[in-house]
Amino acid sequence: MINSNKFVSQTKFGKYGGQYVPETLIHALNELENEFFRIQKESQFQQELKDLLENYSGRPTPLTYAERLTKEIGGGKIYLKREDLNHTGAHKINNTLGQALLAKRMGKKKIVAETGAGQHGVASATAAALLGMECSVFMGAEDVKRQQLNVFRMELLGAKVIPVESGSKTLKDATNEAIRYWVTHVADTFYMIGSVVGPHPYPQIVKTFQRVIGDEARRQIMKVEGRLPDHVVACVGGGSNAIGIFTAFLHEPEVQLHGVEAGGVGSDPGEHAAALSFGRPGVLHGALSYLLQTEDGQIQPAHSISAGLDYPGVGPEHAYLKEQGAVRYTYASDKEALAALRLLSQKEGILPALESAHAIAEGIKIAAKAKKDDIIIICLSGRGDKDVETIKKAEEGKENAAN
């Protein structure tokens, strides 16, 4: 049994996490930690955040019974937690609204963020626009090329997008650059991290703002089914939607939790982004967790069809939950995710994000083996509109390969 709340005032989850950052940042992290613990007890802050989540983002999000999908699979009952129905189309906004309010409370007027596909960048730019703050988003030059529309979206929202040319020019390098920028502008800038990664207290902060997903899902399933689910499934890149939905069920031994990483196209280095499945513990972006790395400790590039999962690390709490056996971690391939995406679209009229499609792929497998009255909740972390071009290219690629 895991009571994750007992770690709230510590910097680590077991041995994972910590603050492996340059000395220049320690004072800022300590200030952030103090302010964060203060606002958790402050009813005015909680009220402001609740108001934004309800009246701006549209929470609570529904828990949808996927009736036709359930029939098609012919096993357990599949429910979808609809984070795709949030403002900006994914769970990311839960966190950026919370962090932007926190930044404002700390008197910071500038926000810096990293982004991979652009979802966290868009959510950051949105929260910054709403609260009247300046926003700079670092994005790998490769991702800028692949996600032109999201770059334009961020710019429309008033943010400045800075392409990152160093390293592999993807999310990990954008994160490096955001941290370097923060080191240099630490006096007036708030670093808005997008997942349950980074140095303490970020994994705690992001978890606190994302746990609303699981808290709602728990109330909703109790209301319609009168009992807890048997399985909860979520995709894991950095792992914020997963921590967000798992936290409400972590101390319930009858609920099995499943985290689904990106299996990409194979199990060799560079073919996947499954840090928990294929990686080893190491330090990246200020925290000790599982990483994709060489024998010598150099970080290896990840691959996934889903840009949001294309990250060589994972949040430190996931490393801890894996070690404790509290969550089962597995992976779904690019191909499985695409097939699940198509199935959900055609059976339910819901186009999931490619990230969420990994959770759907595993959720279907679990449902197929489950009894008729077993309950499976899948976290549908985002909608797939942003991925249409990638999906089209992947389908065309398949046709070309077949010809």
Binding site: G18, Y20, E23, G167, R180, R280, V283, G286, L291, E295
Partner: protein, 270 residues
């Protein structure tokens, strides 16, 4: 460790501690550079271990790390370079400058042991703050290696006291909130920051980040025991990376670097 303490005791004026990236552009060049810097009167040398994700570094050292990684340089090879340098008669204290992850993968205890054996005198780990350093300090003590801590202008006084209290070798004072890199100017507050660190530190103090001109060294000479020259030197090496790899041009390129660093090593005695 004793070698570092001695070096500070024997110095006249402010000492110069150059930083070079091991294996940039090639292992043989690194060996030549170590010899050259020793002969030019460096008080100690920081030998950088290339890392794929150097958070504390600006673009110049990032690119040097990329070049070294392309050469396939590993932490083990950096120790081999150290052994070879010592065999060639390099006497100056050598400090390994590495991010934490390569050490964790090598194994903390075995790295410290083997580094000591190879002829390393101390370590600088930019992403290992006080909070995470307990185990490392103990092992460093056992192996008699100096674990040089960093203090920053953002470190509150109480932290400066905590960090310096257990410092060995020297304390690395970060001149400016930011990454490594060449800077044209420094804040007026650097001197008072250095005075504060010096007041509390039981060991000598060095200033680094941005020191790129002999004038900078002169300015900080009354306030620090040593100045670290990193990106500016790495840039000199990068500008000659092709010539340094050609046997017929290497000597001339080394000579140019030698006369460049000479302006720093002689400036403190003026």
């Amino acid at each position: 460790m004793q070698l570092i303490d001695q070096a500070f005791k024997q110095k006249k004026g402010i000492g110069i501690i150059p930083f070079i990236m091991a294996g940039d552009p090639k292992i043989e060049v690194t060996l030549d550079l170590l010899q050259l810097l020793d002969q030019q009167g460096a008080m100690a040398i920081e030998l950088g271990v290339p890392y794929s994700d150097p958070l504390a570094d600006g673009i110049v050292i990032q690119e040097a790390a990329e070049r070294a990684l392309k050469e396939g340089i590993t932490l083990k090879q950096v120790l081999e370079i150290t052994i070879a340098a010592r065999q060639r008669g390099v006497k100056v204290p050598l400090l390994l400058c590495t991010y934490i992850n390569p050490i964790l993968q090598y194994g903390v205890a075995s790295l410290f042991k083997e580094a000591k054996k190879a002829g390393i005198n101390g370590l600088i780990i930019p992403d290992l703050p006080l909070e995470e350093s307990e185990e490392f300090k103990e092992i460093a003590k056992e192996e008699e290696l100096a674990l040089v801590p960093l203090v920053a202008p953002t470190s509150p006084l109480k932290r400066i006291q905590q960090i310096t209290a257990s410092a060995q070798g020297f304390v690395y004072c970060v001149s400016t909130a930011g990454t490594t890199g060449i800077r044209g100017q420094f804040s007026d507050e650097v001197e008072s920051f250095l005075e504060q660190v010096r007041k509390h530190s039981p060991v000598p103090i060095a200033i680094g980040f941005g020191i790129s001109d002999p004038q900078h060294v002169l300015r900080f000479a009354p306030y620090a025991d040593a100045a670290i020259i990193g990106s500016a030197l790495v840039k000199q090496i990068a500008a000659r990376k092709h010539r340094l790899c050609l046997p017929e041009e290497r000597a001339k390129a080394l000579e140019e670097i030698s006369s460049w660093i000479g302006k720093f090593t002689s400036s403190h005695q003026e």
